[in-house]
């Protein structure tokens, strides 16, 4: 037995990212850094109009340009002409009609990006402009003719629950508007496709959230068997939902197959704004009924989500919105009506928080109105109504997850407030920042609250399972899975799991590709639970086999073995052997699929056990406001988050801080401005993301209450941080200036005019 053991990065430690150093030093190869010999570049021609009929497309001049190898349009798509995550309604290339500004019409492959640019400029498209459906309300009813064969309403879902005739002693009502946020990942869309020599298949390196879903949709459009499309995860520079949908995958693969040469496509920042879906802008009306003391007795609500031109995940976003109407509060009765609709605005789909962000902005505004109406404070009203495990949601689903809502609020409330703004505060720290627009005397401070509930994993009967393979040989573990690493840290977590389960030190991840079963999407805060469950399961199967092997060798019943640090020990005897020694000369490999429990569809009244599990979080924002100029500085965010079990504290903190920054963006600056279907600010010059001077101090508590349903006791932590921080900041602004604000992001004029 060795005297000194090296500390191993098992579960519960802040194991560092295997790619961390390379990323910091700029050595990490993102998909956009890939290169292949004899490679062509691809580029996309996009519609300048939000709604128009295509009269003709003339590529004859463009194809004659030296260096241009191939131009493809809808006529060249060999398989299905459309794709989509839930319904296949989005054309690979627009054929007869363009339905949003930026819709792809053609793609070109050429020897240089500049040649591509010239070729695109040389393609002539004749359009007949059509009336633009840009107001989401106009998509409901008969006000506007259908802009797509599938109609203008993507989905409607009502929820009727409990005694709907009940009326509250106190009634508060509000209309809320949520702007269109962009995921704004820093690594723009990119893929490189390498055609098989026989032209019957293609290998594609792509930055995506879900390799197998891409593969399935690509196979249909390319008219190839899925196994002929081998996807490999390229280095991904963030995702946040924007890489769930197909963007350039089919285009790149098709150009490669047509030219028999490797083709790379990479969007610039402006194109990226047109190349992926965004967070749904929404309008939400809510009316809360409560007893005189403030207990919610009924909620009425109406949601309209603007899905833009194509369905993407709009129907699922809608369900998330309406089923989270009540927030993390008890509610015995509800009448909810929700629509997600089609317009000629940019398509919207998944983004961190997925429909719950919009619901939360409204229900938290309502909680503050309720507190004011009965004369209490934001903390008391939330504690009074806090949901608990075992409560029934307005869908009739019982909350079986650990639901420490009251504890989250209390622990957040215990976090010390930041010191008052000093008289000699640094000008840069005041609202207005480097613009030095204010002095201390102009500033007012406010405090606001936000608390949220978020479903984790996919809903409504969807079996989003994850697969993983564990191979143990000579004391070393290799883990294989198709789980997209988009920055969330699964490549850190998976080896931690293997080290804990198998007692090894040396655990690495194999290439992430489609040479193993699906892992589902890196979204819905699900990979720690789902792929973590799969890796855990595979490692446990390997451990069983190893125990059997050692048991047979030493004549010990394998049931007596346990892993203790890096050794196998006989719990009923004295035998012990290091895992390294035990696994010398053998190879054990096992594959495991983790499935979450089954869920149900909602019925016409919105009733059904549609969600798998829930995670909760509380946020308290302290904000300094310049009421006269309408400028804001978020000073501090205090938060307590329900995490189940902390598997990697540093990684969790990273999610919390990052999510808060993204939620802050939606609260005070991030908005894609669309006027009559036209995007006005597709650049980081005008689409503003928070800078270091905008980022607040974050004081976080991770609330550990083991989640029995979860394979590792851990809940997903990715989405909750960005959900209720937005309403908390907006509430703090309201508190500072004493004025109602019903939209986010809050613009200076909303504060001061």
């Amino acid at each position: 037995m060795s005297a000194v053991k090296t500390k191993r990065d098992v579960l519960g430690t802040s194991s560092l990212r295997p790619d961390g150093n390379a990323k910091v030093k700029g050595d990490f190869a993102f998909t956009s850094d890939l290169h292949a010999e004899n490679m062509l570049w691809g580029a996309t021609l996009r519609s300048p109009h939000p709604h128009a009929r295509i009269i003709s497309i003339d590529t004859s001049a463009a194809i004659k340009i030296a260096g241009v190898e191939c131009i493809i349009t809808s006529d060249d798509v060999p398989g299905q002409l459309t794709y989509g995550l839930i319904s296949s309604d989005q054309p690979v290339f627009a054929k007869d009609v363009v339905r949003y500004m930026g819709e792809p019409i053609a793609a070109v492959a050429a020897d240089h990006p500049e040649t591509c640019r010239r070729a695109l400029a040389a393609i002539t498209v004749e359009y007949e402009l059509l009336p633009v459906l840009f107001n989401a309300e106009d998509a409901i009813g008969d006000a506007f003719q259908a802009i797509h064969p599938d109609g203008n309403v993507i989905r409607r879902q009502q929820i009727i629950h409990g005694d709907t005739s009940v009326e509250g002693d106190v009634i508060v009502e509000g209309h809320y508007v949520i702007g269109m946020q962009d995921q704004a990942f820093l690594g723009t869309e990119s893929a490189m496709a390498l055609p098989d020599p026989d032209g019957q298949g293609v290998e594609v390196f792509v930055a995506t959230q879900w390799l197998h879903e891409d593969q399935k949709q690509m196979a249909a459009c390319l008219n190839l068997p899925p196994e002929k499309i081998r996807l490999v995860l390229g280095g991904v520079g963030g995702a946040f939902g924007a890489r769930e949908d197909i963007s350039l995958q089919v285009h790149t693969a098709l150009l490669a197959l047509r030219t028999s040469r490797p083709v790379k496509m990479q969007y610039g920042r402006e194109e990226s704004f047109f190349g992926h879906v965004h967070r749904h802008p929404a309008t939400v009306w809510m009316r809360h009924h409560a007893t005189a003391e403030g207990k919610i007795v009924k909620i009425e609500a109406r949601f309209v989500f603007d899905g833009g031109a194509y369905a993407s995940t709009s129907s699922a976003v809608l369900i998330n919105g309406v089923t989270h109407t009540q927030g993390p509060y008890k509610c015995p009765a509800a009448v909810v009506d929700g629509y997600s609709v089609r317009t000629n605005n940019p398509p919207c789909g998944a983004m961190r928080g997925f429909g719950v962000v919009q619901a939360c902005f409204a229900h938290e505004g309502q909680m503050d109105k309720l507190a004011a109406a009965i004369g209490t404070d934001p903390v008391t009203i939330r504690l009074l109504n806090a949901m608990e495990t075992g409560d029934t949601l307005i869908t009739g689903q019982p909350v079986e997850s650990v639901a420490p809502v009251a504890r989250l609020i209390r622990e957040t409330n215990e976090i010390p407030l930041p010191p008052a703004l000093s008289l000699d505060a640094n000008e840069l720290d005041l609202p207005g920042g480097s613009g030095i627009t204010a002095e201390r005397k102009h500033i007012k401070r406010g405090i606001g609250w936000g608390v949220s509930i978020k479903n984790i994993m996919y809903s409504e009967g969807f079996d989003d399972y994850s697969t993983a393979k564990c191979t143990l040989s000579d004391g070393k573990v290799v883990l294989k899975f198709a789980t997209s690493e988009v920055g969330q840290g699964f490549v850190t977590l998976a080896p931690q799991i293997a080290r804990s389960v198998l007692g090894v030190t040396d655990a690495i991840c194999d290439t992430i590709d489609t040479q193993i079963g699906s892992a589902g999407s890196t979204s819905a805060s699900r990979q720690t639970w789902m792929s973590g469950g799969a890796v855990d399961g595979a490692c446990r199967l390997v451990r069983e086999r190893l125990f059997e092997h050692i048991g047979a060798q030493n004549n010990i019943d394998p049931i007596r073995f346990a892993i203790e640090d890096d050794e196998i020990v006989d719990t009923a005897g004295t035998f012990r052997i290091s895992v390294i020694e035990a696994s010398q000369g053998i190879t054990i490999s096992e594959t495991f699929e983790h499935h979450h429990r089954a869920t149900e569809d909602l019925d016409e009244n919105g009733q059904g056990n549609c969600h798998v599990a829930f995670a909760f979080v509380a946020h308290r924002a302290v904000v300094d406001v310049d009421p006269e100029l309408g400028l804001v500085k978020v000073v501090q965010i205090a938060t307590a988050q329900d995490v189940g079990q902390v598997l990697n504290p540093l990684s969790v903190l990273g999610q919390i801080e990052g999510g808060i920054a993204q939620g802050l963006g939606l609260a005070v600056m991030e908005e894609i401005i669309v006027q009559e279907g036209r995007v006005r600010n597709p650049s980081f010059t005008d689409y503003l993301l928070p800078t270091a001077l905008d980022a607040p101090v974050v004081v976080a508590r991770m609330i550990e209450e083991y989640e029995p349903q979860a394979p590792l006791g851990a809940k997903g932590v990715g989405e909750p941080p960005c959900i209720s921080v937005t309403p908390a900041i907006v509430a703090a602004i309201r508190d500072a200036i004493g004025k109602d604000i019903d939209r986010c992001p809050v613009r200076p004029q909303d504060i001061c005019l």
Binding site: S434, L631, Q675, N681, L688, P690, T691, Q749
Partner: protein
């Protein structure tokens, strides 16, 4: 596309004489954004970065002025001796972009593109800076007011290099503020410079008109209403702000609204007039 790299002002002016259509690159914080957006595709570029003399600066005790080379990056202006001598200019320089951008961006570039949102331009307007230009035909100096003639238009001739800017050094109050929807690294929604030069108040406004605007009526009001410019009452400052706002001519765009810009410029005027008293 050709890139020409002169190493002296003389060489630059010779190159421009031969290539008057060339685009001058002096920092690139505005130009390269245009290029990235495909709004401009320059055929030839004259890069001024290797001209050391454009990064010189000096003071002249006799005239009480400072002359700053057009190639001196904002990073060298935002702090140190220049910041002590022309604090409003330093404050404006600090609002430009990020540290990386301030290490590249220059006043020469700001003057060359002449955007109404150019961060340092209100300072040059309020301090009535002199812009120095050089061509093979010789040197000339132009008051800022005659230099910026419209949105993104100036009176530089195609064969001229902007070489330097001369500003007065005053011991009197001056300040700059810029409103943006983010606390750093943001294009201005409204910006302003207030300065007292020779006991006369001056107020210049950015992003609220086609060019940098001087609030002449407000200046005149303040000069007459306040007997001592270091003892301005709140009421007078508010009236000063109201008049300045009325002199602004902002537009609605995707960055803000005309109404907000007008309001904000008034607030900045009032605050700057009172600041440091």
């Amino acid at each position: 596309m050709s890139v020409l790299i002169p190493h002296s002002i003389l060489e630059a002016s010779e190159i421009l004489a031969q290539h008057p259509a060339a685009t001058i690159l002096n920092g690139g914080t505005d130009l390269m954004v245009e290029v990235n957006f495909n709004h401009r595709r320059p055929d030839s570029i004259v890069l001024l970065r290797n001209i050391a003399e454009l990064r010189d600066w000096s003071t002249d005790a006799a005239s009480g002025t400072i002359t700053i080379g057009a190639g001196l990056p904002y990073a060298a202006i935002e702090k140190g001796e220049i910041a002590r001598l022309v604090p409003a200019l330093a404050q404006a320089a600090r609002t430009v972009g990020s540290p990386q951008i301030r290490a590249a961006g220059t006043m020469g570039g700001n003057l060359g593109t002449c955007s109404p949102a150019g961060d340092t331009l209100p300072v040059l307007s309020a301090l009535e800076a002199i812009v120095h230009l050089q061509s093979i035909e010789g040197a000339r100096s132009v008051p800022f007011a005659d230099f910026m003639v419209g949105p993104k238009r100036n009176s530089r001739q195609p064969n001229e290099v902007i070489t330097a800017v001369t500003l007065p050094i005053t011991e009197q109050r001056q300040g700059y503020s810029k409103v943006g929807v983010r606390n750093a690294m943001v294009i201005s929604v409204a910006s302003a410079c207030f300065a007292i030069v020779n006991d006369t108040p001056r107020f210049a406004m950015g992003s609220v008109g086609p060019t940098i605007l001087r609030a002449r009526e407000a200046e005149a009001y303040l000069a007459s209403a306040a007997s001592n410019l270091n003892d301005i009452t709140e009421e007078i400052a508010h009236e000063f702000g109201r008049i300045a706002a009325s002199e602004s001519r902002p537009i609605d765009d995707h960055r803000s609204t005309a109404t907000y810009r007008k309001h904000a410029i008034g607030v900045l005027a009032t605050r700057l007039a009172l600041k440091g008293i």
